[in-house]
């Protein structure tokens, strides 16, 4: 498996360029975090991989084959998002029968088992379900398809803390049982950071960062101390941002901390803090 290769992908709508010449390789068998601010182009990218919208220009290949209008390749991809590809007036178990036709690997037994754990009533129609249970219905369906590539656009929308925790555990159990490529796109960065192996951040339609999670912590750090001392320390270094509180100052700096002078406190930037610093306009 070569994964998904995205080459010079551009999507233009009437007056905006949602994606602008994106080049990205999704390596197979890894859990990806696809992060970006509202309108950065995350959903557009996922929808194009899943053949739901077409690019203005550029190409997406899976294992060397174009993903566009290619049923064989699309049969290995399952995408959940706000855009639904089922009739919301059908009962959940009927939709599953329909999904099973397109994804022969779909396990009804496993889907029922997950529905039980989440308390999802499969005799209801998606239209009758709350926001949270609509999300649960989608993630249970995605996990049960056994597709090689699972694209999850906002998979924790409306989920309470208990259901989110259950989802993370079931996702990892599923991944351990049968390794696959999973792309998670969400704004709840802090909670999913440790689930990830690779992180992609997009900003204004372009890839800003594509790194293994372990490398992310080497991207930046913060230094706190007396304003004058922090400012002296910062000169000649690349600043990602700064905050002041009275005579104290915190500077967010790109790179790895070397020796920190006495009187200053250094701290690692976690994924969420780094994300905020990198995507603030």
């Amino acid at each position: 498996m070569n994964g998904i290769e995205i080459v010079q992908l551009t999507k233009e709508y009437k007056d905006i360029r949602a994606l602008d010449g994106v080049n990205l390789t999704i390596q197979p068998g890894k859990i990806y975090g696809l992060l970006g601010r509202n309108g950065a182009g995350k959903s557009t990218l996922l929808h194009m991989i899943a053949n739901r919208i077409f690019p203005t220009s550029g190409e997406i290949r899976m294992d060397g084959e174009s993903v566009f209008e290619n049923d064989r390749v699309q049969g290995r991809i399952y995408c959940i998002s706000e855009m639904n590809c089922y009739d919301a007036d059908d009962k959940v178990y009927k939709i599953w029968n329909w999904v099973q036709n397109c994804y022969p690997g779909f396990s009804m037994e496993y889907a029922n088992q997950l529905a039980g754990k989440f308390g999802l009533n499969i005799k209801k129609k998606p239209r009758q379900l709350s926001t949270g249970y609509n999300t649960i219905f989608k993630i249970v369906t995605a996990l049960a398809t056994d597709a090689d590539y699972i694209l999850l656009d906002e998979p924790i929308l409306g989920l309470d803390a208990n259901h989110r925790e259950l989802f993370y555990k079931e996702l990892l159990a599923n991944y351990a049982e049968r390794p696959k490529t999973i792309i998670i796109s969400t704004h709840i960065i802090e909670e999913i950071a440790d689930l990830l192996e690779q992180v992609v951040i997009i900003k204004e339609g372009q890839v800003l960062l594509d790194l293994p999670i372990e490398e992310v912590r080497k991207m930046g750090y913060s230094v706190t101390g007396k304003k004058s001392e922090v400012e002296q320390y910062c000169s000649g270094r690349t600043l990602l941002g700064e905050e002041e509180l009275g005579g104290m100052k915190t500077a967010y700096i790109q790179g790895e901390p070397g020796e920190i002078p006495a009187g200053l406190e250094a701290a690692a930037l976690d994924l969420q803090k780094l994300f905020i610093r990198l995507t603030n306009s």
Partner: protein, 126 residues
Amino acid sequence: MTINFESDKPIYIQIAEEIENGVLSGAFAEETQVPSTTEISVSYKINPATVLKGMNILVEEKVLYKKRGVGMFVASGAAEQIRQKRKENFFDHFILDLIDEAEKLKLNKTELMQLIEQGYQSGRRS
């Protein structure tokens, strides 16, 4: 095992340290199997590659060893080996830090020694 997600230490280092703590406390006895990568991954909601990275540190240090097709086991002598390693780190990570902090607080050597003595006598430590 407790993983502190707020900590400055990378998660994989924390995984390795927590398994070491389990060995030191006897929770993971020598020549017994430790939880699998999958069990730790699911239980703590951490990517299995991260968990494996932590476990591999311990395999390299010969605290754990792999039994093909079975899993990871605690090596004999592992507890003593960990204790030895941590003693070596004790000076750098605790003693020097302690003196640093004492200096910040303008505590002199005699006062610091008295505090250590007091700590032993407080009954919490024996």
